[in-house]
């Protein structure tokens, strides 16, 4: 694994390994001194062409916990708006000897361009590109789902996949990089994925995706679900005829108090996930967001662990990995 561009590039073994390492990294976050020396003297650049406080803070925390030197490069206004080109930005970072580049970009494929163009030699980590992929988000979701199941059945998370879990992704799949990355990763890990969306917000051409597709949230929720992941509805979608009104969307595809009550009345163990930031009252009600089923804050915590794991795997060799006792594999 040279770069992390898309969960689709991961093998099952790699995905489980990243999650296992993330579990170990999570332990670091509970210490009084939350730091490992793994990336001491290495420079990581957070290259953000798009605003994202949450993802940037998560990556920055992960980098600092691994003792890396962190440079935040907010390059808002890329070549899209006739600023400096991606190529020049990349070559600048190469010239200052960045050891890894974490990139967030509004254009789908920008991290792939960076990784394959020959402009730079360091590892590229995709922190979200356009409507294409958000692999660390999917990894943190998988980590959260793995913990959820472990809490229910008492089995350890280490080494396990998501086989047998049933997860529904609800909302704007068409514009969601989170949904795409989760489709590939969760199905790779053996979960059964159901996409629930108005037909206007499903991409054309997903017949080959390893998912079940439903238009009705109520039908999807009539089945046993281990988790429901609500996708964010962007404000600008509301005026582009994807659905008649936000009220109708919330009624048909929102996780309303009524649907939450339905889960409670069934005694279901269904967890609620949301990649954030949430539109309370639209795709998710406050009752659902604040309920004990909500794992939203676990997701945030796991985000740091997963990003530490990814940085660690991409930036250190096997010999260095053996020197960190906390990360030696039990096998």
């Amino acid at each position: 694994m040279k770069h992390l561009l898309d969960t689709r590039d991961l093998s099952l073994e790699e995905a489980v390994q990243v999650l296992d390492t993330a579990d170990s990294m999570a332990e670091v976050g509970t210490r009084e001194v939350k730091k490992l020396p793994a990336l001491r003297g290495r420079t990581v650049v957070n290259l953000f062409f798009e605003d994202s406080t949450r993802t940037r803070i998560s990556f920055e925390t992960a980098e600092k916990r691994l003792s890396a030197d962190v440079i935040n490069f907010a390059a808002k206004g890329s070549s899209v708006s006739k600023g400096e080109s991606l190529k020049d930005t990349a070559q600048t970072l190469e010239a200052i000897n960045a050891d890894a580049i974490v990139i967030r970009h509004p254009a789908s494929g920008a991290p792939a361009r960076l990784a394959s163009s020959g402009w730079i030699s360091s590892p590229v980590i995709n922190a979200g590109d356009g409507t294409h992929a958000h692999p660390t988000q999917a990894l943190l979701d998988a980590m959260t789902l793995r913990q959820h199941r472990s809490r229910l059945d008492g089995r350890p998370t280490q080494g396990s996949d998501l086989r047998g879990m049933r997860v529904a992704l609800v909302g704007d799949v068409l514009h969601s990089r989170v949904a795409r990355s989760n489709v590939w990763l969760l199905s790779l890990l053996g979960a059964h994925v159901t996409l629930v969306s108005p037909p206007t917000l499903l991409p054309v051409g997903i017949e080959d995706w390893p998912v079940e597709v439903r238009y009705s949230l109520d039908e999807a929720m009539a089945q046993e679900l281990d988790a429901i992941m609500m996708l964010r509805i962007q404000r600008e979608r509301m005026h582009a005829a994807f659905f008649p009104s936000s009220e109708e969307y919330a009624r048909l595809w929102g996780l309303t108090p009524e649907r939450l009550a339905l889960l409670d009345s069934r005694g279901a163990e269904t967890a609620i996930l949301h990649p954030g930031p949430m539109n309370r009252g639209l795709e998710i009600s406050s009752a659902a967001a604040d309920s004990p089923r909500s794992l939203v804050l676990d997701q945030v915590t796991n985000g740091v662990s997963v990003r530490m794991s990814v940085l660690y795997h991409l930036m250190t060799g096997p010999q260095e990995q053996d020197r960190i006792p906390a990360l030696q594999r039990t096998s």
């Binding site: 899209v80 991606l86 190529k87 294409h132 051409g205 017949e207």
Partner: protein, 440 residues
């Protein structure tokens, strides 16, 4: 008049019979066996196929306005290198070719350059804005004698304006060449809408946005009894609509690009913007349907849609990259690979779809002529047995945005005769035809 004579020896005319061709005074003086001609330069053509000089109905020469991307000089040199003796220059220059003055300027630049005839295409609407008709009559009556009109790059999407344009050009036996793209269905579109766009998260350009406009326009053409030409047909559905229209007797002609005959949207998975083009690369099924449509005559011509861009316009993220590919210097090879070598057509058909029919559609009387005594000596000699690896840096075009970089493609243009003058000789670019020698 140049006194230079050329004796082309042993060429394979349209891939059928072998003969010598004597070129003198800009015309084909003799065709026959064992011609002897004192003082003629001999061009050995054993194993080479002789075709009438190619005619491109769809070229972007970029001048005036984007001389950093291409000029009439470099674009027509590229045309000559690709075997072309005439190109139709699209109107989306800056300023737009929507006046007699501008089309005469482009035409004159072509005459001065001397690599190939340049026939400007006039804009249908002022500034390609789709709001009011440009001075179509003035362009038709100008020295450029424009017969083909197009807002290519943009669709004439207003149905009333399209109807009026179709009617109006009948005055001059003109034709409207439609870039079929429903604008609202393709707002922000980045690639073909289908399974690949779903995976890549790139906004989709649905086939229906092309097909809906073609369906409308063939019906309009039938209603008003006009000629309509469909640029760069890219989908199976479009082929079926055009086939249906031709069966009903609609006077419609259709064009396909070489890249739509070879490449599919699978190439976009690299996110390399060299594959970004409008209309977008489609699916394997579309490619097969387009090849079949050329073979059965539903599609009349191959047009290159040669669209050179400076390097920086492609060396960026997909979404902000320019659309378009170069094509003049590879078109004949791609046609050979996709149509001749797949057994769908012969070299006589290549002459038809790349020379005769393009000239007829654009009403260029002295191009696309048969290889016969007394005809203008516009001839291309191609070596069908050659193989070459595409190196865009060696192209005559300023554009380096060839989607065939590093691909091995069959066929090589060995010579191009433009009105009796070899613009390409021995497989290399030669010299332009001198303006002083022109009688026209």
């Amino acid at each position: 008049m140049s006194n230079q004579k050329y004796l082309i020896r042993g060429a394979n005319l349209l891939g059928e019979e072998t003969a010598d061709i004597l070129v003198a005074d800009g015309t084909i003086a003799r065709i026959g066996q064992g011609i002897e001609a004192d003082g003629a330069d001999v061009v050995e053509a054993q194993g080479l196929v002789a075709l009438p000089g190619l005619v491109d109905v769809h070229t972007h020469l970029r001048e005036p306005g984007r001389e950093d991307a291409e000029t009439v000089e470099t674009g027509t040199r590229a045309a000559a290198a690709g075997g072309y003796t005439a190109v139709c220059a699209m109107a989306n220059s800056n300023p737009v070719a929507d006046t007699a003055g501008l089309v005469e300027q482009v035409w004159e630049l072509g005459r001065q350059a001397g690599w190939a005839d340049v026939h400007p295409i006039g804009a249908v609407t002022v500034g390609l804005e789709g709001e009011r008709l440009s001075e179509i009559g003035a362009m038709a009556d100008s020295r450029a004698a424009v017969r083909m009109f197009s807002d290519d790059g943009k669709c004439v999407h207003n149905a009333v304006l399209m109807r009026r344009a179709l009617e109006y050009v009948k005055t001059f036996d003109g034709v409207v060449a439609q870039h079929a793209q429903e604008p609202l269905l393709t707002d922000g579109a980045q690639m073909n809408e289908g399974s690949v766009s779903a995976d890549l998260g790139l906004a989709g350009w649905p086939a229906v946005a092309e097909e809906a406009i073609i369906a409308r326009d063939v019906l309009l053409a039938q209603h008003v009894g006009s000629r309509v030409h469909i640029c760069h047909v890219s989908t199976q559905g479009s082929v079926e609509i055009i086939r249906w229209a031709k069966q009903r007797g609609v006077d419609v002609t259709a064009e396909v690009t070489p890249h739509h005959l070879l490449l599919t949207d699978e190439s976009v998975r690299s996110y390399d913007p060299v594959y970004k083009v409008n209309p977008p690369l489609r699916t394997r099924e579309d490619v097969e349907a387009l090849r079949d449509a050329v073979a059965d005559g539903t599609i009349d011509v191959v047009g290159t849609d040669h669209a050179p861009h400076p390097v920086e316009a492609k060396e960026c993220e997909w979404a902000c990259a320019a659309m378009g590919m170069t094509g003049l210097e590879t078109a004949l090879s791609i046609v050979q690979q996709t149509l001749v070598e797949t057994g769908r057509i012969g070299w006589g058909d290549v002459a038809r779809i790349m020379s005769t029919e393009p000239a007829r559609i654009a009403r260029i009387d002295d191009q696309g002529r048969p290889l016969a005594e007394g005809e203008p000596a516009n001839i291309v000699l191609v070596d069908p047995a050659a193989h070459r690896v595409v190196e865009p840096e060696k192209h005559q075009s300023k554009g380096r945005n060839s989607p065939y970089r590093s691909l091995e493609i069959p066929g090589a243009v060995q010579a191009t005769f433009f009105k009796g003058h070899p613009t390409v000789l021995d497989g290399h670019i030669n010299t332009p035809r001198a303006l002083v020698a022109q009688a026209d």
